[in-house]
Amino acid sequence: MKIEGKKLIWKEYQKEIATDDYFYARSCIRQNFFPGSEKAFTRILKDELGKNLYDSQHHTSCTGIGYHTDVVPFETTMTVVARQFSLMQEAGYSNYIASCITSFGLYTEIIETWKHFPETLEKTREYLFKATGREFSIPNNLAHASDIIYKFRNEIAAKAKFRLVDKETGCPLKVVEHIGCHYSKMFPHKGVGGAEFPYVLTGMIEAWGGEVVDYPERRHCCGFGFRQYAIQANRGFSISCSRKKFESMAPYEPDMIITNCPGCPMFLDRWQYALSEMEGQTYGKNGNGIPVFTYEEVAGLVLGYDPWDLGLQVHQVPAEPLLDKIGIPYNPENKFKGANGEDLGQPDAPNFLKFYKE
């Protein structure tokens, strides 16, 4: 493998990312899936990097899941998205950050649609005005939240308390990066590094001391697939996609997986549990899984945030072996305590996947 070849491709796909003054639109599902991630993002941007970030309370779901499951028509989706942009304008911002990859892909698709079909843009303006009396402008700069962390990866590295290295051996950790399909598969030039060899997470991993694992099924979808996971009977499809990836990455013995989409960490994490229960199969060493993280969680860990503040206790594949390997301290007793120290109770231990109780 020649890294120079990848560098040539990375050079081809550079995107402009605004440096400050952001309007932040959270994801409708991430706060349930990975409750500490968006909090970590706002904390990093405001406290660590001193950026001006407007955390909007009024925006809604982008309807992405409804759109992709054929429940919401594109016209409605465009109008809802136009309302988000209107909120941005109202707050006095023009740099829009989407926390969600589905949203980011959808916003990109909609803005491109408007560019090529101005009459559709006019129709959307009309719908939004009729429905809400609002007007809107298209963001000057649209970024996914991972683009922002990517942009400031070196600043984060400079403040890092931990690096993605094995504290015993000093060797870089082996990291699988998994990019949300809608980050750049539809519009390769809108993603850092393009679609075939995306650089957005690789850049973070390199900056924070890890080593990227390039495994054969790295392009394969995590299995989210909207229609596939939404219906119970179809979930076999979804889990099989994740399984294909695990089978392909396992021989490389990765220490962790980093993702940038709401769906990917959800499925790569939860399906490892489900597969362990269905097939008795685990993909890490000694009955452990391969822990899965959002990039915000990893940025937070690197910056020395408390693992339980980052929400790692809701992961189904326990993060403890990785924390130990890096040497990140944590108090097992606090694992299942709420923010106010109240005991939230412990989940049942899985049958196969190794479990770490307090």
Partner: protein
């Protein structure tokens, strides 16, 4: 008075036309961007469909008499300007030249396989191009040395950079299907135990004896053909290449691991085509190659009298087609210049 003809490009089309125009008594100047004449054929080992030694054919062309032909090397022509019944030819290095007629034989460039990012050329060590395979054939043990072991499975990927709107080339390069079959046979001769697969969309065996070569590849060399365009290549832990195609005739996706993957890179118009077209006022075709004023009746003639085309500068051609085209262009130049003389 001897009229001056400038031939832009001293590949096989330029050389062939030069020798004919020379024998007709014209003053001919060959303008070549490289340090030597001959072009792509120099890098080839054997030619399809008869496996003729490429050097022998190149020699045959190069050794044709060029009594009054002068050659300018290292001159990359960027503009041809019509001026008072003559043409001013300028090269990148500032060199300027006048001629009564110009024959463009700038040929093709090989598609840059790095642009098919999903195939990993330039990233994965054992993904190479068909042109590179030819140079490996020229060296004894070249292929083994390249991959560091005797190969047990090799794949040849058709249509790389051709028939692909994704990278902007909709056209077929014409020569790569038969080249793949020829190279597959050569590989099998080198490594009789090696499995060889051609991954193709259509097999375009359009020339004389090509279909026979294909049949021979199946019958005598056990080359296997899988109808399906390569979707992606990846490297496994040991550096082998994993390919994904659909076996479209079975309707199922297929995955296999190869020791080496050879990309049949197609032809694209040479880089200077656009600037020559705009300076000379001649047309570029939708595929990026030069456009003849009437591709049926006058394939060598451009929209500007006195500027002619020959060879692959006006679209993919085989060697024999290129040579015939060059000869016909020489006649077109002659008939133009003698009509001029009579005026």
């Amino acid at each position: 008075m001897n009229k001056q003809v400038a031939i832009i490009g001293a590949g096989i089309a330029g050389l062939e036309a030069a020798s004919i125009l020379d024998s007709m008594g014209f003053k001919v100047t060959l303008v070549e961007k490289a340090e030597h004449t001959g072009g792509h054929i120099q890098n080839w080992h054997q030619l399809f469909p008869d496996r003729r030694n490429a050097t022998e054919v190149a020699q045959g062309i190069i050794s044709k008499p060029l009594a009054n032909v002068s050659t300018e090397f290292n001159r990359e022509v960027t503009s041809i300007q019509p001026f008072a019944e003559k043409f001013i030819i300028s090269a990148k290095d500032g060199w300027v030249f006048n001629a009564d007629a110009v024959l463009i034989t700038t040929g093709f460039e090989l598609f840059d396989a790095k642009r098919k990012e999903e195939y990993g050329y330039g990233i994965y060590d054992h993904v190479i191009t068909s042109a590179e395979l030819e140079t490996l054939f020229k060296k004894e043990n070249g292929v083994t040395l390249r991959i560091g072991r005797t190969p047990s499975r090799i794949g040849l990927v058709h249509c790389v950079g051709s028939r692909d709107e994704k990278i902007g080339n909709i056209f077929c390069s014409k020569v790569c299907c038969v080249t793949a079959v020829k190279q597959a046979i050569e590989l099998k001769e080198l490594y009789p135990e090696c499995e060889i697969y051609c991954l193709y969309m259509d097999l375009r065996m359009s020339g004389r004896h090509y279909e026979e070569l294909y049949k021979q590849a199946q019958e005598e060399y056990s080359i296997q053909f899988i109808r399906g365009r390569l979707s992606e290549a990846a490297e496994d832990k040991s550096g082998k290449i994993i390919v994904k195609v659909e076996d479209t005739l079975l309707g199922r996706p297929l995955k296999m691991t190869m020791d080496m993957l050879v990309l049949m890179t197609g032809m694209v118009a040479s880089a200077q085509t656009a600037s020559i077209c705009s300076s000379a006022g001649i047309q570029k075709d939708s595929d990026g190659f030069f456009k003849a004023s009437d591709p049926h009746l006058y394939g060598n003639i451009t929209g500007i009298p006195g500027i002619f085309l020959a060879g692959t500068c006006s679209g993919p051609k085989t060697i024999s087609d290129t040579l015939s085209d060059a000869r016909s262009a020489a006649l077109a130049v002659q008939s133009y210049l003698s009509a001029e003389a009579n005026n």
